[in-house]
């Protein structure tokens, strides 16, 4: 794609002219919508991979003393399952929404730094491929998604699994950081006239909060991983107890990142739900400012609670009390959000379209996960729960019942905008109900099996512990989820083949993206709308905005495509993977990276 100097013509014509197709156009694209789609498709594939890993684990755990997979493979599976779901599935799925929607919602033509955006995607893709390559190159990482030192030292984890993990996370961190900066600047600086901060859709707000969490939390894990890599590759002593080091430092650094990370995973979903609920209740969000402030407060408080993952470490009563109280405090803003969501529906006209079902499902399941989290927050109680399946239940209610349900709500809601075609409601409802049932059958028993004493991360358990029936139930539940997902995949394929055309605004939404055609033209808005209220399309001038948004008046400059972000990303990944593969990958990587960055810097922009 080169400069689109769109003629003053009907939007449709611009659209045709401005959307070249073919592989090259995808490799060089800097269009936030295409990058959003790339993110979404890639992340969904990794979600399936992570799910298959989970399924294999569940089969192994279906009965006691099963031998379906070996212990070492099991350890690789849960490590890669956690890592994949968090870094390769949920985060990039959220990023997919950020990319596709934020510029549309704030009335911009693109993000602030389109090529940085492309770079971020390619780094993510290569990092994901790199970390998964370990399965074929001598074994995947096997020390859990939080890789507690000193088990990760070269003494206790020889082999390259941990190196793959640490280097892979470093690479993915770069992708996340690049995206984080980009969205902060985009949201602060690229808003349409009149779009004050307190008129931004909640989803945009949550993107902003999430982006801040990303740029502040990732440096911490970067440093922790640097230490780990130095220890493993050069023999430093950061986590060597024999040299006076304290492996607990790793835990602090990891969870300093890790807890903000869980809010990175949930806040976008909360943003999505805050968009879906008003539309299908035909009523504006109840208490918009409070919902926004709660989100900010959650992001802020997220920094002061990290040691609730470490209650068993023995930090002493004062630290335990402090972190218990700060953790419990987060229940308040979260509760406020939930009550506001319910109040949004109260007195509304609730249309239970699939998107809405998932949004309500999100609230319902997230309450469950939040409350088990609240139980963890009490340290003495957590001492019985930590590192058991009770925690596994908590994380899946918040992550699958929360983040994933929220993401599905968003998918059903915006899929017509993204592709121009509707999804089938009947298949969608089957998808929803099967997901709801499947996830509860899978994860609800885990509360009990955890309280009854089953530790997590065990590849097997003895037959006389009373764990059998509930584990079997969990395993059966997964197949419900698989079936649900097959319905979803079928739905997408059907929509691509024969879906109903969506039109600009199939749901009657209130935000700017519904003012333009589906899928939107490369330049998004022919005329950048001027915003006068919180729900622009529901306001008096809504019709006017819709009428003018598509009209192109005068030339529009769009940034040209560029291959250099991809080249730079490839080079950077090679350079960093040199830490595992050796200098003969690293040095060419450096050269490629510099070529990419140099060409990128001096490439004419328009």
């Amino acid at each position: 794609m080169t400069t689109t100097t769109a003629p003053v013509a009907a939007p449709a014509a611009t659209h045709e002219a401005g959307s070249p197709s073919g592989l090259w156009s995808w490799l060089t694209t800097v269009d936030h919508k295409r990058i959003g789609v790339l993110y979404g498709v890639t992340a969904f594939i990794f979600f399936l991979i992570g799910g298959i890993e989970a399924t294999l684990m569940r089969i192994q755990l279906a009965k006691p003393e099963n031998t379906f997979v070996s212990p070492d493979v099991f350890n690789q599976l849960f490590t890669m399952h956690g890592t994949t779901m968090i870094f390769l599935a949920i985060m990039p799925l959220s990023a997919s929404f950020f990319n596709f929607l934020v510029p549309l919602m704030i009335g911009a033509r693109d993000v602030a730094f389109p090529r940085l955006n492309a770079f971020s995607y390619w780094v993510y893709l290569f990092g994901a491929l790199f970390i998964n390559a370990s399965f074929f190159l001598g074994g995947a990482p096997n020390t859990g998604w939080f890789g507690y030192s000193n088990l990760t030292s070269s003494q206790f984890s020889p082999g390259h699994g941990v190196d793959f993990w640490a280097v892979g996370l470093q690479i993915l961190g770069i992708a996340s950081l690049a995206a984080g900066f980009n969205f902060i600047i985009t949201i602060v600086n690229m808003r349409a006239p009149g779009m004050k901060l307190m008129r931004m859709p909640v989803f945009v707000w949550m993107t902003l909060v999430t982006s801040f969490l990303i740029i502040l939390a990732f440096p911490v894990i970067t440093v922790a991983l640097v230490f780990l890599l130095f220890d493993r590759l050069t023999g430093t002593n950061f986590f060597q107890p024999a040299m006076g080091a304290d492996p607990v430092l790793w835990q602090h650094l990891f969870w300093l990142f890790g807890h903000p990370e869980v809010y990175i995973l949930i806040l976008p979903a909360m943003g999505i739900v805050s968009e879906v609920l008003p539309t299908f209740s035909r009523k504006p969000l109840f208490g918009y400012p409070v919902v926004v402030y709660s989100g900010i407060f959650i992001g802020f408080m997220g920094w002061g609670v990290w040691s609730h993952h470490m209650f068993a470490v023995g930090l002493g009563p004062i630290a335990d009390s402090f972190f218990a109280l700060s953790t419990m405090l987060i229940a308040i803003p979260t509760g406020v959000k939930i009550f506001n969501w319910i109040a949004t529906m109260w007195g509304g006209r609730v249309e239970l379209k699939t998107a809405m079902l998932f949004a309500v499902g999100f609230i319902s399941m997230f309450i469950m996960g939040g409350l088990s989290g609240f139980m963890h927050a009490s340290p003495p109680a957590d001492l019985q729960q930590t590192d058991t399946y009770f925690v596994v239940a908590h994380i899946h209610y918040v992550l699958f019942g929360g983040s994933m349900m929220g993401i599905f709500a968003g998918l059903y809601y915006w899929f017509p905008k993204m592709t121009g075609r509707m999804l089938d409601e009947r298949l969608g409802k089957a998808h929803f109900w099967l997901t709801l049932i499947g996830m509860n059958v899978t994860f609800f028993p885990m509360h009990f099996v955890g309280l009854l004493g089953m530790p997590r991360r065990v590849y097997t358990y003895a037959p006389n512990m009373g764990f059998d029936a509930m584990n079997m139930m969990s395993t059966i539940g997964v197949f419900g989820i698989i079936l649900a997902l097959l319905f979803f995949i079928a739905n997408v394929l059907k929509s691509r083949a024969s879906g109903k055309p969506a039109g600009n605004d199939p749901w009657g939404g209130s935000t700017l993206e519904w003012a333009i055609s589906s899928p939107p033209p490369p330049h998004n808005f022919g005329t950048i709308p001027t915003v006068h209220s919180l729900d622009p399309l529901w306001a008096k001038d809504g019709a006017e905005i819709t009428r003018t948004a598509g009209q192109v008046r005068g030339p529009i400059h769009m940034p040209p495509g560029s291959i250099w972000p991809l080249v730079a990303a490839l080079g950077m990944t090679m350079l960093m993977s040199g830490m595992v593969f050796g200098w003969y990958v690293g040095i060419p990587g450096l050269v490629i990276m510099l070529t990419g960055l140099y060409s990128w810097s001096f490439e004419p922009c328009d």
């Binding site: 070492d72 419990m328 309450i367 009854l452 065990v458």
Partner: protein
């Protein structure tokens, strides 16, 4: 705290009902769920249980109310043909303040007992407690009784009704010591010493396990807690303090003893007066244990010989070398090991 429980307060009754009701399957069926966290048998475990009951009470209450509200709202305001266009309400300050304060109140109800329990359970152990040092190893637990000069593995013996103060350390990576019946976990962390204390309130044998992922056989790092009467405990102590049994040198066990020194077991295992190895469990009285190798094998000649023939067979990654023993060697060694009552 005394073993007898008073549940006079209605709150506590309700909470107890909820826990026990909701967790009916737990219903004290220690037999069916031997590692359950819901069947406390010590002051520490009870302290936790009380807290858990209150937590559960509030959490279930909130769950029912909020989910109920959610469902009612969705049902009641479901779009029906002819439903009117809703009023565009943007908020209601009084309501919003209310539902900020309500959780805050509940929070205080939970926070206060939480902090009290933290300080109570993490206080210094009372003087005169029985001291035991626990050392986590990949993948078995070692128990040292410094006062009694006993070292044993995988099976912890304590007297009922007397406070036991554990100090917890590790020989390699982080593990987590967990005997659900007497209380919560404590990690064992390199370069740190942790503490936990409890007073067991009823006699019995209870399983426990390592709860922090610690490598390939994390799933096989179990232990057993024997809560004995004071008399049984004293007898056990006395037996453990004996020198190891001297088998008749012509018997099979006697041959095994010779072989023990010959094939290299001595390099890793201590038998008082015979060998000083410290890599594996102390075997001085291994025959008196009910299970071996991190409680993965019952202590039975058949399993002992399986273990000696191939330690990694049932316990992947076990750090005892497979010495490639011949069947007759195994038989002799097994006989010797089993004789070490």
């Amino acid at each position: 705290m005394t073993p007898s429980r008073r549940r006079s307060k209605p709150l506590r009754l309700a909470a107890g009902l909820l826990v026990l009701g909701a967790l009916a399957l737990a219903g004290c069926a220690l037999k069916d769920y031997p590692q359950s966290t819901l069947t406390p048998h010590s002051d520490l475990a009870w302290a936790i249980q009380h807290l858990l009951e209150q937590l559960t009470f509030w959490v279930v209450l909130i769950f029912v109310l909020v989910e109920g509200m959610l469902i009612v709202t969705v049902m009641r305001f479901r779009s029906r043909p002819g439903s009117p266009e809703p009023k565009h309400v943007h908020g209601n300050t009084a309501l919003e303040v209310a539902w900020t304060i309500a959780p805050a109140l509940i929070l205080t109800f939970v926070a206060v007992p939480t902090v009290l329990t933290i300080f109570k359970t993490q206080a210094k152990a009372p003087a005169g407690s029985l001291e035991v040092k626990v050392v986590g190893h990949q993948w078995w637990w070692e128990f040292q009784y410094p006062g009694q000069k006993i070292v044993t593995g995988s099976e912890l013996h304590v007297p009922v009704g007397r406070t036991v103060a554990l100090s917890l350390e590790t020989a390699d990576v982080i593990h987590s010591f967990w005997l659900p019946i007497v209380g919560g976990k404590r990690d064992v962390v390199p370069s740190r010493t942790n503490h936990i204390w409890f007073t067991a309130d009823s006699v019995g044998v209870f399983p426990g396990t390592c709860a922090e992922f610690c490598g390939i056989s994390h799933a096989n790092m179990h232990m057993k807690l024997f809560v004995d009467t004071q008399k049984d405990f004293d007898a056990w102590v006395a037996a453990q303090q004996q020198p190891p049994i001297e088998p008749d040198s012509t018997s099979l066990a006697g041959k095994g003893k010779a072989m023990f020194l010959e094939v290299g077991c001595a390099a890793c295992h201590t038998i008082s007066g015979l060998s000083p190895g410290i890599i594996g469990p102390n075997l001085t009285h291994v025959g008196s244990r009910t299970s071996i190798a991190g409680s993965t094998y019952p202590n039975h000649p058949e399993y002992v010989s399986q273990w000696l023939a191939n330690p990694q067979a049932r316990k992947p990654g076990a750090l005892m070398t497979n010495l490639g023993l011949k069947p007759d060697q195994i038989a002799a060694l097994t006989a010797y090991v089993e004789s070490l009552k």
